[in-house]
Symmetry: C2
Subunit: 342 residues, 2 copies
């Protein structure tokens, strides 16, 4: 049976919500088991609260935790017995372990992922790729959304190839439409980085490049994949997140203003619920860290069980869909694997 | 009496909605009159439909129109009798004309603005600055949002000074909080451009710099001004716009699903209305093009009367608040006026 390692100590709500989310994921997919890394006593105390198939849960004790305040590179080097490093090493070393999920320090997950799991041959820069909701009811993958603040045109072309493989493997998309996120749809738009990336994307085989897209197209779903440099991709992601939260907040406020408005809420509950569900980033799962030899998923630092569960399910689905093979093959076919590391 | 020129032929809904919006603005402020540039016959035909003080409306006939399809620099040079160029020249030449509003080609407004109105002494790059809604019920100014896809650190520092003057003049803010839009709040975040801009902003006098902010902080209103390079600022703006439109669309869809849901809408109409109003970019007015010697406002290309009216009012208010003087003084006090043009 395949296994997903979950860093039980990572994130603001660890270990309580992480353990809960992992256990709940067992109900959604029957073909995997989970390994929880972290303080065994704490984890066992949490596990006691739930009914689950004990044969599908393993706990690996570790004595250390990496916090958000630590410098990532130093932390993953120094804290070899941390839940994050131990988890990543299990992922690298054990063949039955196929995925890793953490809500811990983004920097540590990225640095540790590259250091302990390693890049697929030819991948210059692994990239973070969340799957955002859109108005069509499908997902828009945004790649990169923060792993690489500084990019070269060739990185962006690789992001397109990696995200296309992911869209096929995890979301069953046939010919995912790839758009380049810029400040206008015309071909000449953007700074030199994006102008060169545009030219390169047009020449890249194996992807369905549809041209430049704008910030609004992410939510409209006019592309399946938005390729971005990690700097502006991060700004887009967080702008959308902020908008979603603000909408939920304003609605909450409006419907609490008076007895009458509270009553109105009862009538509109279902419709408001649909909207909130669409905007709820917690239910979306995490961002896959594309380009590594195995599946690594970064869940939001403020993750509750509600977001850990889909992150774990996402890891299982991406494995079942053959993400790593698809990505490796795509790089080989395009001759990118020959390019080697920069 | 001060005058605002309105380009009656600019935008997707010209001249019908532009003329209507301009006439409606006369009701909101009593201290100005309007000059409409464009095809006189068409404009007069529209004007006939409204009751207004005829002494407050002037029409200046022009025979040409600049479209979105034309190369901006060529168009503003070649079409000297276009509603846009004639309007900008009136702004430059007549002392009683204090502002210009257009929903026409952004590129032509920017190029024409710099060419015919000119930059304030010391301004390296004029910048587009819309005033976005936020969850606090105030405005967040986003500067630049698209005039300059490529920036240098010094431009970003100037955007902060210009937007601060605007926040004081047009929105009565006392010490507007300036944040630098990046991919994380920590000081070291971002690419070299934003790292250098951060250092420069810390040293810039006369502004209230609060550090780096993220995409979500725009809607949260955690800063009054978000300073951005025009590339990522544009992406942030459009991502938020897209999110707002998607929310309105999803709500519309949900409440039309069945007779029951249509009924629900009647109960929740007021609350939904408040949300939609907050997200309605049309009611926000346009983006001021900061750094020019007079007030130039770019209204959305799809502007209806509903967005032309606040754009015109915005021009009046910015003038009354002393925008140009405040900006000129700020540059002089900081010694930036000495720097001269790049």
């Amino acid at each position: 049976m395949i296994k997903i390692v979950v860093d039980a100590m990572g994130g603001d709500n660890a270990p309580v919500e992480i353990v809960k989310g992992a256990v709940k994921a067992l109900e959604q997919r029957k073909n995997f088991s989970v390994i929880l890394t972290g303080d065994e006593a704490l984890i066992r105390a949490e596990l006691k609260q739930y009914k689950y198939d004990e044969s599908r849960v393993e706990v690996v004790h570790c004595s250390e935790v990496i916090t958000n305040e630590e410098a990532p590179t130093h932390a993953v080097r120094a804290k070899r017995d941390s839940s994050l490093v131990v988890g990543l090493k299990l992922l690298r070393e054990r063949e039955d372990v196929v995925g890793f999920v953490s809500a811990g320090s983004t920097g540590a997950v990225l640095t540790g992922g590259i250091m302990f799991v390693g890049r697929i041959k030819g991948v210059m820069r692994p990239a973070l790729c969340p799957a955002l909701p859109n108005s069509r009811g499908t997902r828009t993958l945004l790649c990169d959304c923060g792993a690489n603040a500084e990019c070269k045109p060739a990185y962006l072309a690789q992001f397109a190839v990696m995200a296309s493989a992911y869209a096929k493997a995890a979301y069953g998309m046939k010919e995912p439409r790839v758009g380049l996120l810029t400040n206008g749809t015309e071909e000449h738009k953007g700074d030199p980085l994006h102008q060169e990336a545009h030219a390169l994307l047009k020449e890249t085989g194996g992807i369905n490049f549809i041209g430049n897209i704008e910030g609004r197209d992410i939510m409209f779903g006019d592309a399946d994949i938005a390729v971005a440099d990690g700097f502006s991709g991060n700004i887009a992601l967080k702008a959308i997140e902020g908008c979603g939260k603000t909408v939920s907040e304003v609605l909450g406020r409006e419907f609490k203003k008076s007895l009458g408005s509270k009553l109105s809420y009862l009538f509109a509950k279902k419709q408001i619920g649909s909207l909130k569900k669409m905007l709820d980033y917690n239910a979306m799962g995490g961002s896959v860290f594309l380009g590594l030899k195995k599946i690594v998923i970064k869940s939001h630092g403020s993750s509750t069980a509600k977001s850990i569960t889909p992150s774990v399910v996402q890891a299982v689905d991406a494995y079942e869909g053959g993400l790593i093979n698809k990505l490796t093959e795509a790089f080989a076919e395009l001759g990118l694997a020959e390019g080697g590391d920069e």
